[in-house]
Amino acid sequence: MATKASRSSARLMISPAVILLLGWMIIPLSMTIYFSFLRYNLLQPGSTPFAGWENYYWFFTDPSFSAAMVNTLVLVTGVLTITTIGGICFALLLDRPMFGQGIIRIMVIAPFFVMPTVSGLVWKNMFMNPVNGIFGRIAGALGMQPVDFFGQIPMASIILIVSWMWLPFATLILLTALQSLDQEQLEAAEMDGASWPNRFWFIMLPHMARAITVVILIQTIFLLSIFAEILVTTNGGPGVATTNLTYLIYVSSLLQYDVGIGSAGGVVAIILANIVAFFLMRMIGKNLDA
């Protein structure tokens, strides 16, 4: 087996990756933490005095912070609910025997490969525009008042767009999990007279449970960082109606140039993501042992 020589060369082979990732993690992270304790605005060059917890105080008492937290929560849970339930339904459907399964699957998965700025703009202009958008046209044809999506229901509109992009992801992973289910087990249950709801509830769902958890955790990591879709559609508005935590930090740091407060927000975002990451890592770690 592995000799001493191969061990040391193995260490040598891992080191570039470790050093790079370590630097990538530690340098910006410590800078963010450091900046979060300074009074530091790029528009006021010169001294950057120590500010203690001042930035955190301002960040937390800023009314847009609580709004951004609520918006983040609504966005993440909204998209998770739609994509998980929709993904289970799509996976169950696609798992059934049908003609042209390959083509249908390709059509379902396609939105996942559309870049966020394209999906944001296409939905905003071609579908949700109250005058020329397709939804507006349909409403008009039915004699209804067209909905001003980004004026009246801005958050729901963002949730719809993001769900369209992530539903394929959930479907693909849940379908993969479902296909690994032993067919004989299902047939045996059917022979014993188990109805479809029973087969779903007692065999399929438990089999998919693990994949469902993975879908939820991974999506949460990505959904906490939703940015481009908001930037190209609402710019966080109207008011702060669609400003999530990521967007709020972007506004305070790169639009208001307040490095201190932006960094304090960054630290908050890191802590939030870490809570989710903790559970995700445990699941992945378990699989590594198996």
Partner: protein, 277 residues
């Protein structure tokens, strides 16, 4: 299969799934149609667009003339391919070592690498932005390539690791017995067996880098702007030019859509870090 499935139920499944699939795909199909219309036709009612207007390719030409589309396309290619290949260069030795010379700490190292991926980009936005500003890296291809390489490195290592793990160790041992050095082992034995896994890793990471829209929006503006940033410039009133926006969008997503369809299976493995296979 033990039992026959009636054609009738098969037809029913096909119809239901086909309708849903069509609805999911419709936005993409719709911009494909609009991209072959004139601006005047593109904003007409959907049925008129379909049945009573002419087809033209002028929008594609207009997009190029308006803002040198090809430059941004090449930026996207350079940055996504560059960051993936660079990442591969660093990841292959690391993944190889962890898969074939596992130490006590290997699992911890792997998990730690993955944890860096969980860092929300906005948490390090300011430091990266300031470093880029001070080193003159803002709006450069080199800068963005490096950042995308770093954020995808954990995924590349992780994917390669799971692929390498599946290569039987006996073959390597046999090579070692025959007196192959570490270098020869990697080049002549391992690489040929690992090519399919490496190909899927490359494919998935090009897709991820191509569609990355946080750092590319923050760190580039014009010169090095990839397509994600270029398309974002349509968010101003120009978004109302449906035909041009459609043509630009179609060209931006077409290459990735095609690559994506080829890498469906690997996608699951790559995006769940091996937790679902």
């Amino acid at each position: 299969m033990a039992r026959a499935i009636s054609t009738k139920s098969k037809m029913f499944n096909t119809a239901t799934a086909g309708t849903l699939g069509f609805l999911m795909f419709f936005p993409i199909l719709w911009i494909l149609i609009l991209s072959f219309k004139t601006e005047e036709d593109a904003i007409r009612a959907p049925l008129e667009v379909l049945f009573s207007s002419d087809w033209t390719t002028e929008s594609y030409g207009a997009v190029q003339a308006r803002s040198d589309y090809f430059k941004h396309f090449m930026n996207s290619v350079t940055i996504s391919v560059g960051s993936t290949l660079l990442g591969l260069l660093i990841a292959i030795p690391a993944a190889w070592a962890m898969a074939f010379v596992p130490a006590k700490r290997t699992k911890d190292v792997l998990m730690w690498m993955l944890s860096t991926k969980m860092l929300p980009p906005v948490g390090v936005l300011i430091p990266i932005y300031l470093i880029f500003r001070d080193f003159g890296l803002l709006d450069t291809r080199v800068g963005l390539t490096f950042v995308l390489m770093m954020i995808n490195l954990p995924i590349i290592i992780w994917m390669l690791y799971t692929y390498f793990k599946e290569i039987p160790g006996e073959i390597l041992e046999a090579a070692r017995m025959d007196g192959a050095t570490l270098r020869e082992e990697v080049i002549y034995v391992l690489t040929p067996m690992a090519i399919p896994g490496m190909a899927s890793t490359v494919l998935l990471n090009i897709i991820l880098a191509w569609n990355e829209a946080f750092w590319s929006l923050q760190l580039t503006s014009s010169n090095a702007a990839p397509l994600t940033q270029f398309i974002a410039s349509y968010s101003s009133p120009e978004g109302l030019f449906y035909a041009k926006l459609s043509a630009a969008s179609i060209m931006a997503i077409a290459p990735i859509l095609i690559m994506g369809w080829f890498s469906q299976k690997q996608l699951v493995r790559g995006l769940t870090f091996g937790a679902v296979k």
